[in-house]
Subunit: 410 residues, 2 copies
């Protein structure tokens, strides 16, 4: 099977490298050898072993009748979208690691693929090292999925892990992560939760068979988490993780959120550290299952792209299903999502905080009764389950809390 790779950056060169390295395994998986015939990039790559495969014009690729599959690893919506559409319209399957494109136009692209008896697969767009989309569409397909909860971003998980381990503040760990190449120069997409948001939007869309747009998802990043929060977390026997969570409610709508959560040490996601990602799925017969792997890194993402290539090869000339649809999902409003909240306040604001909670009708526990944080200048509480809207309204009458973090209960 001759293929083309669009974009010879980190992921694209990873894909070529995996294909070169695991030739035999890929042949056995795909049922035939997979060969990179073209690499599309604006740049040239003198002395690269694939130097002669590099082309600068997409037309060469899409007009070559030998090309049966394209791996799109460019990122961004254009020209990736146009290239993908043109390929699919010619019956050339496309696999991608491009979450922006899948989030924005996945449903349309799948329709085009289906109409042209080819496939559009995007495992690498959600969790590089975790075959979660494949699993949802095969082994878990006969299950009724109730919820999906994931640590979906390697950079933020690395930062939170280090903040906890070293007792350092966000800004210091971020700087270190940037030096080590674990965080980008402009870390906004990661630390503000935008990357995780796109991924949970795709997962939520898949489990609900409805379209969830990332813009609709309540998203909170980790920039407000401080080193002191981890001291309380330890006392509560919890850890702080940035989670994407999507859950079907009884009335058929969806609760979707990205936010830092305090999760119990006994929760299967609590042990997921550093750049690792994991997705926990709850379904009606199997119960809880979890899928764990490297969330970042050239090879892990590339391996997911290659697994999609092999799946398409195994199902030649047939549409491989991925259930993204255009029908809009009905989402529970962020203000109506109910959780227990961890609330920290300066000791001097204690009375005002207690009054605000009480006036808002929000029950709470004083954490001082459970453990000694050693931080005498503060008070900390855990509320009873309360909607975010109700809590916000109550807190309007109090000084801004030092922290407000949701609890994930099991």
């Amino acid at each position: 099977m001759k293929i083309a790779v669009l974009g010879y950056g980190t992921v694209g060169s990873g894909v070529v490298s995996v294909i070169d390295t695991n030739k035999e395994e890929i042949k056995s998986s795909a049922g035939e050898g997979v060969e990179v015939k073209y690499i599309l990039d604006l740049r040239s790559f003198p002395n690269d072993p694939h130097e002669r495969d590099v082309v600068h014009d997409f037309d060469i690729i899409v007009n070559d009748k030998e090309i049966r599959l394209i791996a799109e690893t460019m990122g961004g919506t254009e020209p990736a979208r146009t290239f993908t559409e043109r390929a699919l319209q010619k019956g050339i399957s496309v696999v991608t690691s491009n979450k922006e494109l899948v989030d924005a136009h996945g449903a349309e692209l799948i329709e085009i693929a289906k109409a042209n008896n080819c496939s559009y697969l995007f495992e690498a767009s959600v969790g590089g090292g975790i075959p979660i989309l494949h699993t949802l569409h095969t082994a878990l397909k006969s299950e009724r999925i109730e919820s999906v909860t994931g640590i979906l971003n390697g950079t933020t998980n690395y930062i939170l892990t280090k903040m906890e381990a070293v007792g350092a503040d966000f800004a210091d760990v971020l700087k270190k992560a940037q030096e080590l190449g674990y965080a980008e120069k402009d870390p906004t997409a990661d630390v503000e939760g935008h990357d995780a948001c796109r991924k949970i939007a795709i997962l939520a869309s898949l489990i609900s068979n409805r379209r969830v747009r990332h813009e609709q998802v309540m998203t909170e990043g980790i920039t407000k988490i401080t080193r002191d929060d981890f001291i309380y977390a330890r006392g509560m026997q919890r850890r702080i993780k940035l989670l994407g969570h999507a859950e079907k409610t009884k009335d058929g709508s969806l609760r979707v959120i990205v936010a830092p959560f305090l999760i119990p040490l006994t929760h299967p996601l609590s042990g997921v550290d550093d750049v690792f990602n994991a997705v926990e799925v709850t379904s009606n017969m199997l119960g809880v299952s979890m899928y764990y792997g490297r969330g970042a890194g050239k090879e892990a993402t590339a391996s997911a792209v290659v697994a999609d290539i092999c799946e398409i090869a195994r199902n030649q000339g047939a549409y491989v299903e991925r259930s993204l649809t255009k029908e809009e999902a009905s989402l529970v409003d962020a203000a109506e999502q109910t959780y227990k909240f961890f609330v920290r306040t300066a000791a001097k604001d204690k009375d005002a905080m207690i009054t605000a909670l009480s006036d808002g009708g929000i029950a709470y526990e004083d954490l001082r009764r459970q453990f000694d944080s050693g931080i005498t200048s503060e008070e900390a509480y855990v509320t009873a389950p309360v909607s975010y809207g109700t809590l916000q309204k109550a807190l309007q009458n109090a000084p801004a809390p030092l922290s407000l973090i949701r609890l994930l209960d099991i």
Copy 2:
């Protein structure tokens, strides 16, 4: 698709229940509805909703041209083997939860399936709630698998979790587990590691494409683990887990073992508690990935059987590959498998133990230098990496140690 279920016990009735409950999901996964036409059992089931489907004669099933698939949930090698062979010879695919049969005759049965253009799938025989075999044959198929390490038995993991949490001894927790139905009256197969051994033998066979017989696998159970071992484990920042481990060596042979291991708290398997199972896979491009789910329970196992049914339905009239072969694996002798060992001895035997280790040329660390166990009547050491044979030989000259547990290092 009309199917038959052989054996209406725990797993068989679970399969029927999953098919009844998830009718729509199964239809969507299989591409067609799945209907139970026959249930083979020696007993009758008056007032059961499927009472009229129960038959006592396998010939009725195998001679019915409508039957395209059989779910064998009887257990044991006979008559399961004969029934499976007869079905496959007629081109009827078989899915099973029967690890004894897969371990003993899997390769032959797969050959018969292949020759008759049907399939023999056995996801439920390894990890009920974990789609690990499916993943190894699809998403991970283009990877070079280096090792597989798993918590493969729910009963022993439950017992170890409770021993640690409560500080109780093996016998007491076992008794409690039996009362709760988490352990069988005769717990030998679980607590002596035989069940985990059959599962790692199947996994080892799959990753090596060679036949690993369970009789060849060095197997140690958890009956000798005591409550004191957990005190040292805590000091070492480790937990004790019964692991099945299979690893390819550089010369192409396999290291396979089932034994309790001291694993670091940072290891992804260390958070797997109670009846949950998990399998960690290391492969050349993806690195470490892990698959986690309920290891026991009617529905989890049944769900895995149903997932196999759907996979066969999706690939109608085609052989679905599972790579068990007849060619014998070359295994590293148990005596030559090298690990660090945790060694406990009575304080009075300290000198004899130290002399035995030193005379055997085995370096060791005194754990007393690392933490205070609080147990003054004992001494505890961790050896440098040493082969089991060398250690055993050295210990012949010392009083029997109170514990000897391998360390899993990452």
